[in-house]
Symmetry: C2
């Protein structure tokens, strides 16, 4: 575990931590393997012992992001069972995207390995989570179609705000807009 000496101790974890920091500080551009190595106090080639290439590191970063997102959603409502609960979860989803835009883009905005098992597991988890919510909120609806619709709606709201297609300068307005859109779309129940 010692950071001094020739061997780092836990360079794998240190790289991941450095990557997350760089992402938050300077966006996707700042996340280079060389910068990660610098921050970990190590030669530029060292990270390659732990990550095959930049994409592998990004996949690990994305996996962390998926876990964080899951936590935020769970914190928004432990077990949503009405459309209004669902709206609260939607707000949390969009807020996560706006709080950590670069991380969110790494998770969703890049053409990445489909076969990174970490990523696949994380996204199927989220998918299952959405499906469970929808089953409780709209028991009479076509479960599959409705879960797809709900995830897409919320995901789309996140991206449109992220891209400035919808004004995201004031969080209050964003929350209101997200709630309004969810209500408007799912008025049927």
């Amino acid at each position: 575990m010692s950071t001094s000496g020739y061997h780092h101790g836990d360079l794998r974890a240190a790289c991941l931590r450095a990557a997350l920091e760089l992402l938050e500080e300077g966006g996707a551009t700042a996340l280079s393997l060389r910068a990660v190595a610098r921050r970990a106090g190590v030669a530029p080639s060292a990270p390659y012992r732990h990550y095959a290439d930049r994409d592998a590191l990004l996949s690990a970063v994305a996996a962390v992001g998926y876990r964080q997102l899951a936590e935020r959603l769970a914190a928004a409502h432990p077990s949503p069972s009405t459309p209004e609960d669902l709206a609260a979860v939607a707000v949390a989803y969009v807020r996560f995207a706006l709080d950590q835009p670069a991380l969110f883009r790494v998770m969703f905005g890049e053409p990445c390995d489909r076969d990174s098992s970490e990523r696949v597991a994380a996204t199927t988890a989220i998918s299952a989570y959405v499906t469970a919510i929808v089953a409780r909120c709209f028991p009479d609806s076509d479960a599959e179609a409705m879960s797809t619709a709900v995830w897409a709606l919320v995901h789309g709201l996140a991206f449109l705000h992220l891209d400035g297609k919808l004004d995201a300068t004031r969080p209050r307005i964003v929350s209101k807009r997200v709630r309004g859109a969810v209500r408007a779309a799912l008025a049927a129940g």
Copy 2:
């Protein structure tokens, strides 16, 4: 217009064309200013006479993408006025994203200049288009909330397919899923 000689003739347009080609052939990675210059048969620094930097070229590419998208949507249905018409437009939107994934990502998947007037104009045009459709399809609904919801829903469907979160290998299935999701979400009318 002559391509021979010291001066190119219309390097600005040539760069844009080259950029679109490279994007289609090799994805976002392949779209470098140097590659654009090579394809246009010109020195690496020449494009800088016409585009301030890489982002400026990307903005121009995105603007072309917005126009293409608008055409595709108009072709799907000239003036949608029922939820089923809207579903057809949604299918066209998602299909565009899947046909030109790299272009779609340039349009929406990057944190780009908000102040590129080309981009702003194009996106407000799309926004207005959606609002008009919604006004016809759901005259009784809150127009703003509903347009936001519809755009977000469709946009989200596009991105989830693009990222492999939803299986996009067979176009037929994609169309079916999009239609199903739109119907499920907007069953209220």
